[in-house]
Each structure stands twice: as structure tokens, then as C-alpha cells.
Symmetry: C2
Subunit: 134 residues, 2 copies
DNA sequence: TAAAAACCAAGTGTTTTACTAGGCTTTTTG
DNA sequence: CAAAAAGCCTAGTAAAACACTTGGTTTTTA
């Protein structure tokens, strides 16, 4: 019942990028600041790029930058890309006893709804809130 | 980011026991009803017993029963026994950059609080809500 | 043309999860 | 009083998930 490194590192990368304004930033420099592996962060960056949250520039002086305004980056969407669904329980394919249904309806469904609502009400700009982090 | 089988099976066991009233119920019969392994359920039962949620009777005609009223069984407490802490992120031991702190304060801390509040406001009696499940 | 960066696929070690196996102890009942 | 039925307990294990690492290729700039 934990968020994985992919989601956590992804958020840190987005916050980091937001601090560098409109200039491109190398993965290397992010990795150094965040004390993460460049190669691993690459995999996260790949997903963020494919989904249109960041843009990139190849070659020397290349790097990454945000493709959207922080206020338009919804954390729930980002985490669904990096973590898969945000459900605390797998969806029950097929048969379900009356008892299981009861637990799902009274525990898991409301919980999943609450968690989804939390993440979907939060944007990158809510996280940075105009802060200067360096 | 999923609840494990231990927590889920534990909840099902408690709901099942609540349906049998004050009579003792064998693990075998629960396992059959819930289609779970007796041996595995034993491990869950052991923890629930040690923490005082269920009582047991050895020997033939033995079995388990609830040790508390459903309204006094807080789901948050049960899941902390079976799953460990209910935090979506591990506690950060030691150093934390300003950026990490920012993410934690604006994402993880409020999220963990919301999840804890959800589970701690829910009792076994809320789940069964007077229902007859069989 | 060499270096710097993004891009990419596959492999790997570790940890966690979800069990299984098998024995011991207690209690009831024939 | 013996056998069976139940709970109790520990250790082992197979599989999946996780968190990377390795080792390249391609693009772009100086």
C-alpha cells in the first residue's frame, strides 16, 4: 500500500522542472539535484513525454521542460500514467459473493473515490504554490 | 499501491464472524465460504487474536468468534495490525531536500491524513449495517 | 567530427507477497 | 483413554513486483 518510486520521482521531476522556468534542463542535472539515477529517471521521463507533460530537445544544450502550465497538470493524471490506476484494490473480475460485495461497497469503493478525488483536485501549481525551492 | 490479501481477507473474516452471531465458527468453514486457504487464514487469525479482535476455542466444536462488538472494531486499527502503517509513502528518515519537503507537505502528508481519517471513521458495524449476508 | 544529450530495449538483483507444508497442542467425544 | 478435530506455530518457497543497470542508438550542436 505504497506509492512506487516511479510516481514519486516523477512528481519530483515535474516540480524540479517548474523551478527552472522555460529553459531546458538536462536529466543529468535533475538526477544530481534529486540524487537519482539518470537511467532510471529516463524511463519516467519517457512516460511523461509520451503523455505530453514534458517536451524535450536533443543534442548538446538539450534537455527537458514542462509542456504545460503547472495549473494544467493534474497530479491524478500524472500518477495514473506512472503508477497505473490509483485504486487501492484491484477490480473484481467476475463473481463476487454477497459478503465481498458488501465490503467493496462500504469500504473499497468509497476509499477509491476519496483517493481519486484527492489526486484529481491537486495540480502541480498547488504543490509549488509560488514557492522558490532553491 | 494496493491493499494486500492479509488486510482484505482479515476484513472478510471479521464480517463473516459477525454474521454467525455469538457461536464459534471454525476456520475451515470460513475458508470454504470465502474460498481461501485454511493455513493462510490462520496467519491472519493469529494476528487478529493477538490484538484482541477475536477469541478462540480449541478442540472439536472449537473455532473463533468476535471478541468485541462490531461498533467497537475500528477498521483503521484492524488494517494497521494486518498491513502495517496505512501510509502511502514511507516515512523519510533523515535528510530531505527543500523540494522533497514541499512535495511531502503538499501531497503525501494530506493524503496520508485523509486515508487514515477514512479508515479510522469506519467500524465493522458500518460495513455490515445490519445486513443479513447469507 | 567529436561530444553531449535524448532515446530505447533488455537484463538483473532484491524485496515483498502469498501462499504451502508439516508438525505440535488442546479439547471433546465415543 | 484413544482418536479425532480443532486451534497453534514455524519455516520454507514460488512467483510477482519493484527498482534499478547495462549497453547501446540517434540527434544536434560547437
Amino acid at each position: 500500500m505504497k506509492l512506487s518510486t516511479r510516481g514519486r520521482y516523477g512528481l519530483r521531476m515535474l516540480v524540479d522542472l517548474s523551478q527552472q522556468g522555460a529553459q531546458v534542463v538536462t536529466l543529468k542535472s535533475i538526477a544530481v539535484r534529486q540524487e537519482l539515477s539518470v537511467n532510471y529517471l529516463e524511463q519516467v521521463a519517457k512516460d511523461l513525454k509520451r503523455s505530453g507533460y514534458i517536451r524535450s530537445q536533443k543534442g548538446p544544450q538539450g534537455g527537458y521542460l514542462l509542456a504545460l502550465e503547472p495549473k494544467d497538470i493534474v497530479i491524478g493524471d500524472v500518477l495514473r500514467i506512472l503508477e497505473g490506476d490509483l485504486l487501492l484494490t484491484d477490480k473484481n473480475h467476475g463473481k463476487e459473493t454477497l459478503l465481498q460485495q458488501c465490503v467493496r461497497e462500504n469500504v473499497y469503493d468509497p476509499l477509491n473515490t476519496a483517493v481519486a478525488h484527492f489526486f484529481d483536485s491537486l495540480t502541480l501549481s498547488d504543490i509549488i504554490a509560488g514557492k522558490r525551492l532553491s
